[in-house]
Symmetry: C2
Subunit: 332 residues, 2 copies
């Protein structure tokens, strides 16, 4: 299976070098796989940071920049960053107002962020954490106790980063991050397996006419392997689960994401988006904004996820605040 890589063991290093080569406003923290803002932490503001295994690009380094993250740590593919690197990121990002870590709920990430935060805390940094667990598909999975953290994490980055940019204190930034977490749900589907650089082969087998509902972003098992469905059936299935889980009712207002898993063309995502918008219209749910694209991927997996976030005036304002990062730009 031919890929655009050199040495599989240099995959993360070269990818991060490519990103900072393209974006001079970002830089790598020396000797780490951490990407931070080249202009340093914004003076006196809370720094929002994140991280996780690689293979989910543009997550998370693609969200470093004005109005979103102050830093992102990349582990090896599908592997948590080390506690040392997380501690270095947290210490480097602190501008004197404390650091909020946005952590996807995977055991390795949670453990290493805990240790990294503790290490940074011993250096005098005020650290808070929020754990994102938006995947409604499964409770307790291969790498988690509780639910997995997936694409909804990007909305948490946006809300927390925008709040930090207002000069709010760590408690306030943490509060809006938690508010976003409480109101967001996601479910995904795989049409194909992903291929990891090291292995060079599909990580799991899926028949030509099979799909896997509730897939994780590392190819870990979902809730059901089923026959091929139309795009509308996929959209309905994912959306129903998410709406039901969040208890979204007619008259409520939401932001949606139709997210590609990395190998799915944008045209197909728009076909799914069409049905998501149609269904929400039928349900009387007001769509404040709809994002369509690759936000939280699984290498070259074909498939998508559907995210719904209930929004109030505060979250809407934070989502609409200016941002400038490699993967998301929002104008005033």
């Amino acid at each position: 299976m031919e890929k655009l890589i050199n040495d599989p063991t240099a995959y993360v290093d070269e990818m991060l070098d490519g990103m900072v080569a393209a974006r001079p406003e970002l830089r790598r923290l020396d000797g780490t796989e951490v990407v931070v803002r080249a202009d340093g932490p914004a003076d006196g503001q809370v720094a929002v940071v994140s991280g996780g295994g690689s293979g989910h690009e543009p997550s998370h380094a693609g969200y470093v920049g004005e109005g979103m993250l102050a830093g992102a740590a990349a582990g090896a593919v599908f592997t948590s960053p080390t506690a040392d690197q997380l501690a270095a990121m947290i210490e480097s990002a602190d501008a004197g107002a404390g650091v909020l870590c946005v952590v996807k709920n995977y055991e390795g990430d949670v453990m290493n962020f805990d240790t990294g935060a503790e290490m940074a805390g011993m250096e005098g940094v005020d650290v808070a954490q929020v754990v994102v667990d938006d995947d409604v598909a499964v409770e307790d999975s291969l790498y988690t106790s509780g639910r997995r953290g997936v694409c909804g994490t990007v909305l948490v980055h946006k809300c927390a980063g925008a709040k930090a940019a207002t000069g709010a204190d760590l408690d306030e930034v943490t509060r809006v991050a938690e508010k976003a977490v409480e109101n967001v749900g996601t479910m995904g589907v795989a049409l194909t397996s992903c291929v990891t650089p090291e292995k060079g082969e599909p990580t799991f087998e899926l028949g030509e006419d099979e799909i896997e509902l509730g897939i994780g972003i590392h190819g870990e098992p979902g809730v059901e392997r089923t026959d091929a469905m139309s795009a509308d059936e996929v959209a309905d299935t994912l959306l129903d689960e998410v709406l039901d889980d969040l208890g979204i009712e007619s008259g409520e207002e939401v932001v949606t994401i139709v997210n590609g898993m990395g190998g799915t063309p944008l045209s197909e995502l728009y076909i799914v988006q069409r049905r998501v918008a149609e269904r929400l219209g039928e349900e009387g749910v007001d769509v404040h904004d709809a994002w369509v694209g690759d936000y939280m991927t699984s290498l070259d997996m074909e498939g998508c996820s559907v995210t719904v976030c209930r929004v109030d005036d505060e979250l809407k304002e934070l989502l609409a605040a200016p941002a400038e990062t490699p993967a998301l730009t929002v104008r005033e």
Copy 2:
């Protein structure tokens, strides 16, 4: 081969519906596959429009919006839009200052844009055209006489759209579009074939360890089928051809695009970007800006293209001007 589609014959229609559902600032021109700005043509400004076969998303409807295109017409997959639809688009987009059509050099597109422009001209619209032929790989190919128009087209959209937004007249907007065309070159590579919705199977066969250099964006033949290469070798090969063709020399300034073909994850594009930036640095070429992502795709094809555009102060200013479209946002 499972895909996120419903009826293959509704592919384009549903995709465009999904796009306008996500972006209320866009709308479809009634009874057509044309996407235009919902707020209508900008009064007194030249309208820049484009179009072509579907399957290249986000091209072209993804570039409709403030600072770029006033309209984009989508044909069936890999098929030119009809002259009737192009005429309807041109007439609808005209705000009294004339319309510039940006056309990729494919025989069907050129012929239908010619006819559409003539039809609109008979209705009193002042129409100009520029034909983009940036693909340095082949002269005269399966669907073209002369070179093919590929990813460089997006830079032409940006420059022409930004110039139109300044209130410049049709001659001036056409001049900057032609300047961009003269200074841009692109070459691509396929690692896999694409799968068209109608056929549901690869359009050509490529061995597991083969790649095709100089591929067209419809899977039409390139210049050489060769054994697998590393990402760096791919980057070197594509970049050398483009730099040589443009005659770029040390000390010149360029904007680059590492463009994904639709099925390639962003991580791999960044690995290619790393080498492109490194090589240009070695050559003493100054990279003013570097775009990395899916701009001109070929359905779900895995692969990439490398675009280089020589820029002067005028093109730099136009590329940096504000824009707000589904696929590209530029802040002030």
